[in-house]
């Protein structure tokens, strides 16, 4: 039988606010346990929540970016259950009236095809704390620093039909939230998390199969593997005459398998009801419009503009716009390089990217500013330096030795373009290597191209790389005839 997979994703993105969604405690990651958990986060008796305006605005930003309806009235509700990392015995979330209603985004697949994925809703809620299972003997330690960090939960329609589509959707949302600067997108630190609802059904059947919910998916790779494993598992269960059980399954990356966490029978009755400590959030049309106007250019629009405006390839544009900081850096480079886009793209995606990767830093922390890099590219373009010398200059810039112009000046790296000087270099090398000259002249035309490299190399060495390679080439060919 042919099977069709149906996937829906629930994404939890931590919002990049300074303080928590309902308290004035800091949201900084990595602090010592419970040092960023104030009375409200701890759920001490008598304390009360007050909504963070920034969290509301960030949710509206997301909603407008995915063309969703923003609710003029949304309500916070309590989701009641007991767990040690949930200090109040309820999570403040949204249930009946979420802030973001139905929206959609377009994804692109590797074969170039496009697909629309629906977003059912997105709501605001508070994150829970963390349980630490090691280091406390027979106990579990509870750290509530994360409790109260604002989250936006983005629920998709069950529109995805393969792990590839799921990953494309996830990456798209990931890039949108980072473009909007509402989430840092860090999956390792848990600021961008995902649960997947997976089911299979015979191809052609309308009715959905029984789904399982996969948890603990903290990298794109794991998500893909977990979904792949789960699809196989479900098909196998059905084909061997069994039934898929509706349950929550945990992905184990070490064994690359999913296993039962809890079944529906044990599912909680969350007893949602409007939080009486909070009043409805009302958002007027003007506020939404003001936020919409200030939305940054989103990845898709940026990519299309890069293709059109800079004449870049689709691939280059995709890579450059995959992250807003990088795209902005690139544009600044082009600006500083008097509009030289292709060369700028090569440098940003090539040398710069390699340096950043090597020191594992973000482009915003780049040792070479966009203006500096653009300044250097300008010098390549106007023939002040060659591409090879540029690598030397770039390295010096990385080491903080100054701007490209300063480095070129200080180290005397200016390219030699004076025809007389180049001719002298060429003549000297020809005179010093009569054997090679003879060999070149006797070689068939198709081999000469390779042999001429020897002379170029010698000349470059002699000029310490500063001779203009194009001029050298032309003159050599002339003189060796």
């Amino acid at each position: 039988m042919e099977w069709e997979t149906v996937i829906g994703l629930e994404i939890h993105a931590q919002l990049a606010t300074k303080s928590k969604i309902f308290s004035g405690a800091s949201t900084t990651y990595g602090a010592e346990a419970n040092t960023q958990a104030c009375a409200v986060d701890l759920g001490l008796p008598g304390v009360l929540p007050v909504i963070n305006q920034q969290a509301i605005e960030m949710a509206i930003k997301f909603g407008t970016a995915v063309n969703a309806h923003i609710a003029d009235k949304s309500v916070f509700a309590r989701k009641n259950y007991f767990y040690p990392d949930l200090p109040k015995g309820y999570q403040i979330s949204q249930f009946e009236l979420p802030i973001v209603g139905h929206g959609e985004i377009e994804i692109q697949l590797t074969d170039g095809s496009k697909k629309i994925i629906g977003i059912t809703r997105a709501h605001l809620e508070e994150d829970a704390g963390k349980s630490v299972h090691d280091g406390f003997f027979d106990n579990t330690g509870v750290d509530l620093n994360r409790a109260g960090t604002p989250l936006i939960e983005i629920v998709s329609e069950p529109d995805m039909r393969s792990s590839e589509e799921a990953i494309a959707y996830l990456k798209k949302i990931h890039s949108i939230v980072r473009y909007l600067k509402i989430c840092d997108g860090n999956m390792q630190e848990g600021s961008f998390r995902c649960d997947a609802n997976v089911s299979v059904r015979p191809k052609g059947q309308d009715e959905l199969g029984t789904r399982t919910e996969l948890k603990n998916l903290n990298s794109f790779k794991y998500i893909e593997q977990a979904i792949e494993f789960e699809i196989e598992r479900q098909i196998e269960v059905i084909e061997s005459g069994g039934k898929v059980v509706q349950e929550t399954r945990l992905y184990d990356p070490n064994k690359n398998e999913t296993r039962t966490m809890r079944s529906k029978e044990e599912a909680n009755d969350y007893r949602y009801f409007p939080d009486p400590d909070l009043l409805p959030v009302c958002i007027d049309q003007e506020t939404i419009e003001a936020i919409r106007k200030e939305l940054p250019e989103l990845p898709e629009a940026k990519r299309d503009r890069f293709i059109k405006e800079f004449g870049l390839s689709e691939y280059d544009s995709d890579v450059l716009t995959s992250n807003r900081d990088q795209a902005e850096y690139f544009e600044s480079v082009v600006n500083a390089a008097n509009g030289e886009a292709k060369l700028s793209a090569n440098w940003v995606m090539g040398e710069l990217s390699a340096v950043l990767n090597k020191s594992n830093i973000d482009i915003t922390q780049s040792p070479v500013s966009a203006e500096m890099l653009g300044g250097m590219i300008k010098r390549i373009k106007d023939n002040t330096i060659s591409g090879n010398i540029a690598k030397q200059v770039f390295e010096a810039m990385c080491n903080g030795e100054g701007s490209a112009d300063e480095i070129i000046d200080n180290q005397g790296l200016k390219q030699v373009t004076d025809p007389g000087a180049i001719e002298k270099l060429v003549d000297d090398v020809i005179d010093a290597n009569p054997d090679q000259v003879k060999q070149y002249q006797q070689a068939p035309a198709e081999k000469q191209g390779k042999l001429i490299g020897f002379f170029v190399g010698q000349i470059m060495k002699k000029s310490q790389g500063k001779a203009n390679p194009q001029q050298v080439n032309e003159l050599l060919q002339e003189k060796l005839k």
Partner: protein, 95 residues
């Protein structure tokens, strides 16, 4: 409204309250009586009436995104039943 023992057991579990076998009939009796009282609500037709969650029907005032709280761990953990190395302790949780 007639409740039975298993209803009480289920609710007590949701509320994480252990109730002894001998107390269950009392709770069953009292809660059933309260629900009977509550059901007098059904004498009024409330079709098309919008629920009222809050007496004043005003909207939320939002807080500026500012860090206003400082670390008070030591102060707060003085009243905690069990802590170790800054963590609150509970019996081992198996996931």
């Amino acid at each position: 409204m007639s409740l039975n023992k298993s209803d009480i057991d289920k609710i007590a579990w949701l509320a994480r309250l252990s109730i002894s076998e001998e107390d269950t009939p009392n709770y069953l009796h009292d809660v059933s009586n309260i629900l009977d009282l509550v059901e007098t609500m059904n004498t009024v037709d409330t079709e098309n009436i919008e629920p009222l969650a809050h007496p004043l029907e005003i909207t939320a005032r939002l807080r500026e995104d500012k860090v206003t709280e400082t670390d008070q761990r030591e102060h707060f953990q003085k009243i905690a039943p069990a802590v170790d190395n800054g963590h609150y302790l509970v019996p081992k949780v198996i996931e």
